[in-house]
Symmetry: C2
Subunit: 236 residues, 2 copies
């Protein structure tokens, strides 16, 4: 069987509003000695996407309420509060801490918001790679989320292009030929988590290649299939 490889892409230059990411990712992959190839999945962290898309807002460090106000502005529903921590649902439908707003790896006095539409961000990178390198890749935009009952953060997908976000194994049967009890696997989230293992939080590596994914998964997908509607939700 073919192994899956996760290849870190260090060496991206500083990303500023208006930066086009695809050429930088193509070049970073070349510089790493692993040029992009058809069937690769590029995983790009939300942070660089938000910066490139100008999703940066001023946050007055002298105003202790500024952060809270920003979180509330980016939320459609607050689920829980404890001290500085707010668990809320964003306008996109993600339930996460602090509406996904990030203060690390941006300049003091600024905050990075989530992309407006991370599937669109992913498609833009996918299309840019096709135009610039002539190869068809999948793209995952990743972010770092906590979990209610587990310690530690993991990376998940908030945007996808060219990849099924959730793969339904229903009906393929278990090894006894009976229908499987568990069926739908969030492969886009698993790809994001796998990539995080080679990117690290503090090592300044904002992108990675996942090479060797099942070709059946490389079809059009949407991060919408990762969002559980509140009507189905037992904890909202």
């Amino acid at each position: 069987m073919i192994p899956l490889q996760l290849i870190p892409l260090p060496g991206l230059p500083e990303i500023t509003p208006g930066t086009t990411l695809a050429p930088l990712l193509i070049e970073a992959a070349r510089a790493a000695g692993t040029p992009l190839t058809g069937g690769d999945c590029l995983v790009v962290t939300q942070k660089v996407v938000s910066k490139a898309e100008g999703r940066l807002v001023r946050l007055d460090p002298a105003d202790p309420d500024a952060r809270r106000h920003l979180i509330e502005a980016e939320s459609v529903r607050v689920l829980r509060r404890r001290g500085d921590l707010v668990i809320s649902e964003t306008g996109h439908g993600w339930v996460c801490a602090n509406a996904g707003i990030d203060l690390s790896n941006v300049d003091e006095g600024w905050a990075a918001l989530l992309p407006v539409d991370a599937d669109r961000s992913a498609r833009r990178i996918r299309d840019g790679v096709r135009a610039g390198a002539g190869v068809e890749v999948a793209v995952v935009i990743s972010d770092t989320f906590g979990r209610p009952w587990r310690h530690g953060l993991v990376d998940v997908a908030i945007g996808v292009a060219g990849l099924a976000a959730v793969v339904d194994l229903r009906g393929t049967g278990d090894d006894r030929g009976r229908p499987l009890q568990v069926t739908e696997v969030a492969i886009a989230d698993e790809v994001a988590s796998a990539a995080e293992l080679v990117m690290g939080k503090a090592r300044g590596v904002p992108a990675a290649i996942a090479r060797g994914l099942d070709p059946d998964w490389l079809r059009e997908g949407s991060s919408a299939s990762l969002r559980r509607p509140s009507g189905e939700d037992l904890f909202r």
Copy 2:
């Protein structure tokens, strides 16, 4: 930078109560052309561990309440019910669906319970690989969990040996040299998710090698650091 590889290990024979897993895993890795080497992390699914440890119980298919009784017996606290679905906390402290009891890939009329102590299961495999192949590996026992606000299942770690389950990046600073906002990464869960991508639910591959993890992470760990105590929990 060195890529991370996930290598599936197909070809394990049928596992029955009393099976010693380490020699089978050593042999499966050899047969796959990728013999185990120092620094590898073996990921083994809960299902084969539970079978090997005889964690199988009879479940009368004629009794519609049998499944519910078993779930309640394996739970210390029920969080939510909807139809057949029970979200509960197991005796181990995991919050998951149906107390982690699995009816797929076991014979009709049987159910597989979680291992009594999956860290011990992981250490037993690690020690067996050291004895049988003379190499020091890390081990993750993985299981498939849902998430309250996200569709699709992902694999997580329920047992570890020789691997820090959560890595604290606090204080290492972001790329501006300021302390990071997010700090603790559940790398054992991310390794389990990465491995799932090459194992698949229906392909009968119950183990994989993660090769190329950061050597700093290969130290003694415990799955306890993945369990959020109920006192810290905002959703229990």
